[in-house]
Amino acid sequence: MKPVIKVKNLRKSFPVPIRQSFLKRIFTPKFEEVVAVNNISFSIEAGESVALLGPNGAGKTTTMKMLTGILYPTSGEIAVLGYEPTKRNTEMLRNIGFVMGNKSTLSMDLSPMQNYEINKVIYNVDTVNFYNTIRELSEILEVDGHLNKQTRKLSLGQRMKAEMINSILHRPKILFLDEPTIGLDISSQNNIRTFLRKVNKEVGTTIILTSHNMEDIEQVSDRVIIINQGQLVYDHSLEMLKRTFSTKKYIKVIFSGKINATEITKKFATFGAIVEKRHDAVVVEIDKMNQSNAISAIINMENVQDIDIEGIPLNKIIETIFKKKIDN
């Protein structure tokens, strides 16, 4: 399949002023170069759903902004739908959408519906499609009763959903999402995830998502690109990522009463590393190979009320990859 996004040796640095006295700052300002994205390359095919992950300041949003033409790269090549984003080709811009969880694209003084009207004209959406799309999207996102209220009077969840409709109204081929579920309640988060999955699977929209919420990644993405300190450190499918770490398991043991911390630490240390310890529960990370031995030993312990076995959570996996990079 032909890639819709191609990135080669992409680099972005920002000049940051060095602290100087007031007069020097005015007449002879000095800057140092801070590298936000350092020589990354990847490509994304049509219909993929890719998560761009990394700790704060890793360069995820900067990468997305370069992919959408908001920022000029310092060096390197980008092609989105065959166009260089900073050239701002109309055809490319008609086929991308960008949802920014931390920024509003809607005018607060007007209703979402009034806001959509201007995008209808800009993207040349015909009237029948316009109303059908709004009806369909607002039903899926459960905001149909709120689109005629002034935007500033909407709750964060309602506004975020209204933003989502605004960004997808023109049916883009590529949808960029930067923290789309930030600050939302669980039900709104689930709505948005289900919606994004549907758009990706049924319509074939390519999705590029950044989020610190691992459920967003697990439910929406198939592939994970991890960026740390501006460099690409991992690029594989989500399944592969989980499989790599599937040699480890978490065993959560719940006791019927208060536990003796020293005694429990001593006993559980023989199985593996203790990840979490509460007054009535312990979570231990074990090798999959030792799983049956560990379980039979735990069952024979006193006051054991429940045992729960699960794979390593995605956030722990990602954290491990971040740490590995920093250690290297």
Binding site: L71, K103, L110
Partner: protein, 272 residues
């Protein structure tokens, strides 16, 4: 050709929608709109009282009588309200958008970003709402004083000067506004420009020597209003002032486009 017509139609539709959008935004808060109207009316009344008092004492300001001053003020207020309608709000919103990162959303739209920026705060309806009451006062005074009777040359040159003056004012402010890409905060610089604009309330002849040249560059309202008034009042038959105004327009429009191109490359957005 067909493609150009389609593009033109698109831009015209976007412009109409933006005007409606601006009107809806402004009328969302009626109290604020009425407040702005009251402030403009109040400003003009106090200015008229001031001119009346001065001219009762001195009879002429830099060779301008009370009727001449009314023509000058009518022209300078026309230029000012044209700025209020087409320029000032757009400049303010543009600066705000670069500072808070909402400029990002303009860059994502499939229409010219500069077109979007220059029409961000375009408001012909409210511009008319604010400008018609004070302008009617001046039109009434100009008619009452029988102050406006230019020659054919004066009328044509004056209209040309007025149009160029409005455009010059527009690009003058935008050229400075482009500095926001580099400086991030330029509020005080724009405040200075507003004070300089006050220079346009007085006749061009009031300035002497080097100041006479300097103010043309520093006070856009003076160039925009003072020069057309010279022609409307038949105070000159020379085309030099008009040529200077055309030069200023070319200079500042070129500066705007150059700074815009550099600005886009330097734009840093805001972190998420």
């Amino acid at each position: 050709m067909k493609e150009r017509v389609t593009k033109l139609k698109l831009y015209a539709s976007v412009l109409v929608k933006k005007i409606v959008f601006a009107w809806q935004t402004e009328t969302a808060y009626a109290g604020n709109t009425v407040g702005e109207l009251l402030s403009t009316v109040f400003y003009n009344i106090t200015f008229l009282v001031f001119i009346d008092v001065i001219l009762k004492k001195f009879k002429l300001i830099a060779g301008y009588s009370f009727p001449d001053m009314m023509v000058l003020t009518l022209i300078s207020q026309t230029v000012f309200y044209a700025g209020l309608t087409f320029t000032y709000t757009s400049v303010e919103l543009f600066i705000k958008s670069v500072r808070d990162g909402s400029f990002d959303t303009l860059l994502l739209k499939p229409v010219s970003v500069l077109f979007q920026v220059m029409t961000l705060g375009i408001r012909p309806f409210s511009g008319a709402f604010f400008s018609i009451p004070p302008l009617l006062i001046y039109i009434f005074l100009v008619i009452q004083q029988n102050a406006f009777h230019p020659s054919m040359f004066g009328l044509i040159a004056g209209i040309g000067g007025l149009i160029m003056g409005i455009l010059f004012l527009h690009f003058f402010r935008f050229a400075f506004a482009m500095l926001v890409f580099k400086n991030k905060q330029i509020k005080n610089l724009l405040k200075t420009l507003e004070f300089l604009s006050e220079g346009g309330s007085y006749p061009y002849e009031a300035y002497k020597g080097i100041v006479k040249i300097a103010v043309l560059f520093l006070s856009p309202l003076l160039a925009g209003a003072g020069i057309p008034s010279l022609y409307f009042l038949d105070k000159t038959a020379s085309l030099i002032p008009l040529a200077i105004e055309a030069g200023l327009l070319i200079l500042f429009s070129t500066a705007t486009f150059c700074l815009w191109k550099q600005g886009l490359k330097a734009y840093e957005s805001t972190s998420s």
